[in-house]
């Protein structure tokens, strides 16, 4: 049973990792200080922080069963082939973990089921759900199951100003709720814990290859080496009134991307608000004030 880990505690590890390290990574390390009844952990080779978390967890919690999924930064055919083989290797790790052989037919069946969920989720997005609620549901995993989708309310009325929320891990749906309460309409939740998943996975053929292709060709994040990202940016920024850019402190990928994003917003005459956080489950008063001021001044 997969579980997305977004610890809701304030605790961070400050000894094993430097304090000038991603607070999300430090929160995860603190989370594993006590036993959690988790059979295995899958980390993704997404950034220096995650790579070092992989090292630290293996070193200081040697009884944990950990796998680092090496996701390529590119999405061409060679990258897809490489990733398909990585996924094959990952399936062996899962077999070892569950003491059960991975059944390809069952895997294909799961792909079909998840495609159904993806379709349902995309349909919901078109109807205009409350994005704060969407984020809350997505924190458990992507795509959400049908039952969870039914609980997401639709917006009673469209917001006055369209806003895009972009960035890295967004741990608190309060940020989105606050933007919506202030009259903003979040049109795209372009965050790591948001809606960047693939919209469809091919059902016929090698499931590993199909999964690899779908996941590498989904909307790219700032880690990807993909010109599509800039094109998506240009299109969406053109459509919105402003951009809220949310990053945990020390998130290198996104802090570098901020340079390009700021330049784009400036060129297109759109305001941008950069919120840097220390990975807190609750939104701080300072942040509330900054979001309010952003709306009052610019939107």
């Amino acid at each position: 049973m997969p579980l997305r880990l977004l610890p809701s505690s304030h605790e961070k590890e400050d000894v094993l990792l430097d304090p000038n390290f991603c607070p999300y990574v430090r929160a995860l390390l603190a989370y594993f200080r006590s036993p959690r009844g988790i059979a295995g952990i899958v980390l993704v080779n997404s950034c220096d922080g995650m790579r070092r978390l992989y090292d630290a967890l293996r070193r200081f919690s040697p009884d944990l069963f950990i796998y680092l999924l090496d996701v390529p930064r590119k999405s061409d055919e060679e990258a897809v082939k490489y990733f398909a083989n990585v996924l094959r290797d990952f399936s062996h790790w899962l077999e070892e973990l569950s003491q059960k052989k991975v059944d390809l037919e069952e895997l294909k069946e799961k792909i079909r089921l998840y495609n159904f969920r993806r379709r349902a989720f995309l349909e919901l997005l078109e109807k205009g759900p409350k994005m704060g609620e969407v984020l809350r549901v997505l924190k458990k995993g992507f795509p959400p199951d049908e039952g969870a989708l039914l609980l997401i309310p639709l917006k009673e009325e469209r917001g006055k100003t369209k806003v895009i929320i972009s960035g890295s891990v967004l741990e608190s749906e309060e940020v989105v709720k606050m933007v919506e309460d202030l009259g903003g309409e979040v049109v795209f939740l372009d965050v790591c814990s948001g809606v960047r998943g693939p919209s469809w996975v091919e059902e016929i053929g090698d499931p590993y290859f199909n999964l690899a292709r779908a996941y590498l060709r989904k909307p790219p994040c700032s880690r990807s080496f993909d010109p599509k990202r800039r094109a998506i940016w240009e299109r969406t920024i053109f459509e919105v009134g402003g951009v809220v850019f949310y990053t945990p402190k020390f998130c290198d990928h996104y802090l570098h991307e901020l340079v390009t994003l700021r330049a784009l917003c400036q060129r297109m005459g759109k305001p941008i608000l950069h919120l840097e956080t220390d990975y807190h489950p609750n939104i701080s008063e300072t942040m509330r004030t900054r979001i309010q001021a952003f709306f009052e001044k610019w939107l």
Partner: protein, 421 residues
């Protein structure tokens, strides 16, 4: 006015032609032939890059620079240029310009390079090639530069894994960028041309290995502070060029002489220290002088270790070898690679203490500092994590740093007394 005139001068190839003999003459007064060769190399790079007769390619430190010489282009390394600017204590302006565009949490070398680009003192590239080693900045910074300058960027995604699947993926990318770079730059380079710089790199690397071996001698024949400055600058920037070969021949000659004469670089060597991380603070600071006064020799530094396997024979495919080189990088991959390297260095260089310089904003290295420390301490060797900043003098606290160093030296002294008793 004077600054803008100076900056204008820096952009003229003529300026570099004139300044080269003058600067070389000036630095040769210090009787440091190696430093003169480094300065001569830099003047040559700047002259060639501003002349624009050959294409200029920006690249990151860990991308195999011999590939760029092999293409027939001039490599330019903004990260090392930022370190050079720090050496002259000129980073405050560029760092503050760079920080305005992003956050002060980012690596100051990249922030400095962002600012330097605005000053227009870096020769504009015709192409950017970077690889994902060894940190996230290598993709992100160069992608940002590519977008802001409107210059194509070719990227090598080095896999984290080191198996056959990873090798195939990596090699296919090197083949692709070799052809794409030629197309973009309109070059007619063949694989044979690449082999020439590859052979030059091979000869240089065998010197680098000999140097690494010679530096195991006691007393330490060569200062690690210089190893982390122009020596690592040359190994990152000049490998695969004639000048690089000449530099390492001279370096080997100098170290060999000291070893033969049993002459250390310190008058009295009390302790031998291994410096971890690829950088040190480059702006004026008393760290190295302090260690020197206390008789602490930086016997070796992680930065100069030739980590990659020896290259194959005549028939070897250069791209195959570059693939092996990239995949064998101990700083990219599970921490066990770095742990093995540090353990070997501690034993082979008869190290009394290890200093891990934790540069602000460097996640890839500082993230492993505790784990490396536990391993070093389990060997009974004192270990110090020294937080600081390699490029930003305003992010450096002299009092705190020297206190920590003093305590570290006392620890080594206690260990020395204990082992004697």
């Amino acid at each position: 006015m004077a600054l803008s005139f100076f900056l204008k001068c820096l952009r003229r190839p003529f300026f570099w032609s004139i300044i080269r003999p003058l600067v070389c003459l000036y630095v040769s007064k210090e009787r440091n032939r190696l430093f003169t060769l480094w300065v001569e190399f830099l003047c040559w790079v700047f002259k060639e890059a501003w002349k624009r007769e050959k294409p200029v390619i920006w690249t990151n430190s860990f991308f195999p620079v011999e590939f760029i010489y092999g293409l027939g282009a001039i490599p330019f390394l903004p990260e090392i240029f930022a370190a050079l600017v720090a050496y002259f204590d000129w980073t405050r302006g560029p760092i503050s310009k760079g920080s305005l565009k992003t956050s002060t949490d980012l690596c100051s070398f990249y922030r400095c390079a962002l600012g330097l680009e605005e000053y227009g003192v870096m020769p504009k590239p015709d192409l950017i090639i970077s690889c994902s080693q060894i940190c996230d900045g290598t993709k992100a910074f160069y992608q940002t530069m590519s977008e802001s300058l409107g210059i194509p960027h070719l990227f090598v995604d080095v896999p984290f894994r080191k198996d056959e699947n990873a090798k195939r993926y990596l090699k296919s990318q090197l083949e692709e960028i070799f052809h794409e770079a030629k197309n973009i730059l309109g070059l007619k380079t063949s694989l044979e041309d690449l082999r020439k710089s590859y052979d030059m790199a091979k000869r240089t690397e065998s010197l680098m290995r000999e140097i690494a071996h010679l530096r195991k001698s006691k007393p330490a024949p060569f200062p690690g502070s210089e190893g982390m400055s122009y020596v690592s600058g040359m190994s990152f920037w000049s490998l695969g060029s004639e000048r690089g070969l000449r530099f390492f021949e001279a370096l080997k000659e100098r170290i060999e002489k000291s070893v033969k004469e049993r002459r250390g670089y310190l008058k009295e060597e009390r302790f031998r220290v291994l410096w971890l991380h690829h950088i040190r603070p480059y702006y004026p600071n008393p760290i190295m002088e302090f260690l020197k006064e206390k008789g602490v020799a930086i016997a070796y530094e992680e930065a100069n270790y030739p980590w990659w396997p020896e290259r194959g024979g005549e028939e070897e495919d250069p791209l195959e070898d570059l693939t092996k080189k990239l995949l064998s990088n101990p700083w990219y991959g599970p921490i066990e690679g770095r742990l093995k390297l540090v353990r070997d260095l501690v034993l082979e260089y008869q190290i009394d203490g290890v200093i891990h310089f934790s540069h602000w904003g460097c996640r890839q290295s500082t993230g492993g500092a505790s784990i490396v420390g536990d391993m070093v301490k389990s060997m009974g060797i004192p270990y110090l994590i020294l937080p600081g900043d390699g490029a930003d003098p305003d992010n450096y606290s002299p009092g705190q740093t020297l206190t920590r160093l003093q305590a570290f030296i006392e620890l080594m002294e206690r260990r020395w007394r204990f082992t004697r008793e």
